[in-house]
């Protein structure tokens, strides 16, 4: 596989991961809050869930996922900050979660950078000289008006109000 494909593959993986995580955050914010020592932050967690889902859909549905992956990087920063507030609590897996998010963040940054460089590598050619006709389009307009549209391709008179009314 070529490098560009691999990067896109990773981006799609991150997209699905976003959606998966988002669904869990949105559906079970209370359990998560308990586990991470973030009691009282259920609303925030659900909000993050919505953000993850939106980002995931953005990554999967766009032609160029680059901005969305950078969006994930920003989201990771938010997550890390929030998790850090749970670190001091007695009960909670905030430490483990922090490590995991840090790992994903690294992957996000690498992926986003690879995508951005991919974009820069592609020079855009201009085909402004590819007219395909001997004169300017303005001069060529109607050059084929000797062509008679066959009967079975004509639009019925009744459906041409803007022309026949004139």
């Amino acid at each position: 596989m070529r490098r560009a494909d691999r990067t896109l593959g990773v981006a799609r993986g991150l997209g699905w991961f976003s959606i998966g995580l988002g669904v869990v955050e949105l559906l079970a914010p209370r359990a998560l809050a308990r586990g991470l020592g973030l009691r009282g932050q259920e609303g925030l967690i659900a909000g993050y869930g919505a953000r993850e889902i939106a980002t995931g859909i953005g990554i999967l549905a766009s032609r160029d996922p680059t901005p969305w992956i950078w969006g994930r990087v920003a989201g990771d920063a938010l997550d890390l900050g929030t998790l850090a507030t749970g670190l001091g609590r007695r009960r909670g897996g905030a430490g483990v979660a922090l490590a995991a998010v840090a790992g994903v963040t690294l992957l996000d940054v690498l992926c986003a950078r690879a995508l951005s460089s991919r974009r820069e590598r592609q020079p855009v050619r201009s085909f402004a000289d590819r007219r395909g006709m001997p004169k300017t389009p303005g001069q060529m307009r109607g050059a084929a008006s000797d062509f008679e549209v066959p009967k079975d391709f004509r639009i019925p008179e009744a459906l041409r109000p803007w022309t026949s009314a004139a």
Binding site: L60, A61, S126, A128, G132, M140, R141, A144, V149, T163
Partner: protein, 389 residues
């Protein structure tokens, strides 16, 4: 001989395969001098078209020199230089007699299968699904042409391969797309997709006298080629297609809309695109009709939607009520190549148009597999690939 062979999703290889032989009395074998990769091939490459089999030879834009003819192949002889239309035609069934060549009633050898799936069969096509006969295609050194006495366009030596090759498909396709609009001098024609078909449609609409042609895509180099052909361009990634179209038509919408995109429309930032992507991923829908919906919405009431873009199966959430109430006319289909080819050949000879403008890449068969990717992903400013086997 060598040929580009389909082995599965995104798996096309340059293989050694047996040479084709005359199988039916009306057959001919041609030695391929030039062939091309088409946007329709991409639907097979991405496996969106049902009915492909491992080992199928790709390609339906082909030309070459007649090498051998069957005993009943009248009017064609060894050494003739011909372009082969992508639609195989018998020339004497009811549909062929009317010029509806792409729905020839006899050329599909898998007629039974097509009757079941489509209700009634359509024509046999080269290098396409088994629903349309599964005939080996022309991205190869040799091609067997069934019903060759009718399925060909003779071309004069005075024109180069590159000038006439696209008579096989994309030039007549863009032309028919414009003819389907029955263009009037006041018309604004909006064209979605600036791939090879869109480029031909733009120039056809200009030649047929449209007052304003608007072209929509997101690939800058394709937009630059569209502008060169006389179109006002809209980049749907940076501007709103609907808003711009309304602006350019004093709020009334274009009279004529052409879909030169088909079932693999890129998702845009709109909700319906995301919905299609998701449904396609879980196989509840086969085609992404984003462009169709947009055309129905923005088209002027009593306008025409012309659809050369290929669809394969099922589409969802088509606002049919809107289309009905607006009184829209729909025209679509695979192209009736031979209906237009003589006239278009004359226009090329007279210099009205030179379709070779669209070519960006020239390769040998070996580079074919790699070039499918380049073309699909629009890398290296690729717009049209010509192969010289």
């Amino acid at each position: 001989m060598r040929a580009l062979v389909w082995h599965g999703k995104q798996d096309i290889r340059c293989d050694n395969v047996p040479d084709p032989r005359i199988e039916q009395p009306r057959d001919a074998i041609i030695k391929v001098t030039s062939c091309a990769i088409c946007g329709s091939d991409l639907h097979l490459y991405d496996n969106f078209m049902p009915g492909m089999k491992n080992g199928d030879i790709m390609g339906h834009e082909t030309m070459g020199i007649v090498e051998e003819v069957g005993p009943d192949c009248r009017g064609l002889k060894k050494g003739d230089r011909v372009v082969i239309p992508f639609t195989i035609i018998c020339g004497d069934c009811d549909q062929c007699k009317r010029g509806n060549f792409s729905v020839c009633e006899r050329s599909n050898r898998n007629k039974d299968m097509a009757d079941k799936v489509f209700g009634h069969t359509t024509a046999g096509l080269f290098g396409y699904t088994h629903l349309t006969g599964g005939y080996p295609g022309g991205q190869a050194e040799y091609l067997r042409v069934p019903f060759a006495d009718k399925t060909h366009i003779k071309v004069p030596q005075s024109l180069t391969d590159e000038q006439v090759l696209f008579l096989s498909d994309i030039f007549p396709t863009g032309w028919q797309a414009a003819v389907q609009c029955d263009i009037q001098p006041e018309d604004t024609v909006a064209i979605w997709g600036c791939g090879p078909v869109g480029q031909m449609a733009i120039r056809s609409a200009i030649l047929l006298g449209a007052r304003q042609v608007i072209a929509i895509d997101c690939v800058p180099e394709r937009l630059s080629m569209a502008a060169a052909g006389g179109a006002t361009t809209i980049n749907f990634e940076t501007e709103s297609t609907v808003e711009r179209l309304n602006e350019l038509t004093k709020g009334k919408g274009p009279e004529k809309c052409i879909d030169c995109v088909g079932l693999e429309a890129h998702a845009t930032a709109t909700l319906d695109s995301i919905y299609d992507r998701a449904k396609q991923a879980v196989m509840l829908e086969t085609d992404r009709p984003h462009v169709l919906r947009e055309m129905m919405y923005v088209c002027r009431p009593a306008g025409v939607l012309s659809i050369p873009g290929v669809y394969g199966g099922l589409v969802d959430k088509i606002p049919f009520g809107m289309a009905m109430n607006k009184g829209l006319t729909f025209r679509m289909g695979q192209t009736h190549v031979n209906r237009w080819s003589d006239d278009l050949l004359r226009r090329i000879e007279q210099g009205q148009i030179d379709p070779s403008f669209v070519i960006t890449h020239r390769i040998g068969l070996e580079q074919g597999p790699e070039m499918y990717k380049t073309f699909r992903d629009k890398l290296d400013s690729c717009i049209k690939v010509v192969i010289r086997p």
